[in-house]
């Protein structure tokens, strides 16, 4: 039982962070908070992937003399691409928020919905 906890506590905390970000996206009304929650969700998914590639008593995957065990370089490559795609999404989302403020005058989701319904 205790070695199940030691082997898996990392994944459980990462799942808690994912659910915190998910809850922020679907339940908070302010648009900027939604974008912050989306970014928390993305970052915790990156943590999950890097945890899968970790090796006990290994080192960074840079080949050097005297080291035999290395961490897995493939998740690192995937997550590098994913981080850059994430910042592109965030930048576009924030630009859309600025335009929504110009068009509707507010960035609270309830008021935008009411304005749409009353047209």
């Amino acid at each position: 039982m205790i070695d199940i906890i030691i082997g898996h506590y990392n994944y459980w905390v990462v799942i808690f962070l994912m659910m915190a970000g998910f809850y922020t996206v679907i339940s908070q009304g302010n648009l900027i908070k939604k974008i912050a929650g989306l970014n928390i969700f993305q970052t915790s998914v990156f943590l999950l992937y890097i945890s899968i590639g970790y090796v006990n008593e290994g080192t960074t995957p840079i080949i050097a003399e005297g080291y035999t065990k290395y961490a897995n370089p493939l998740p690192h490559v995937l997550i590098l691409t994913a981080i850059v795609v994430g910042v592109s999404t965030i930048a576009l989302g924030l630009a859309l928020i600025v335009r929504i403020k110009e068009a509707y005058g507010t960035i609270e989701e309830d008021e935008i919905h009411d304005q749409d319904m009353s047209l």
Partner: protein
Amino acid sequence: MKHNLILRFIAKFLFPVIALFAFYVQFHGDFGPGGGFQAGVILSVAFIFYALIFGLKTTEQVIPPQVLRVMASAGILIYAGTGVATMLMGGNFLDYNLLSQNPIAGQHLGILLIEVGVGITVYSVMLIIFFAFAEKGRP
């Protein structure tokens, strides 16, 4: 903020240090952590820091947005151009072994070229996005 002497001095002192660190990270991506993305982001952070202290108009005289627009496209062209060049030499797309007599030297040259392309594009796009947000706020 440019009337504050301490901030002005620190900005003028730190800007070349940050830019030098960005170039170090760019060209040492083969031997340590680093590469094109990190270098592009760090160099753009140096220019954003300068713009926060000295104002947007001064920074746009240092690097005009038209130059940024050309640089963003030039980075991708360098990357795709390397691939097309290897195709014209008879191999596959992005096959670096054909770029030089020695295959290992060809790989080094290919990786260097595409990392430079990635660095230029990432730097220009980050600075374009920042300028777009900042120009909107100016009355």
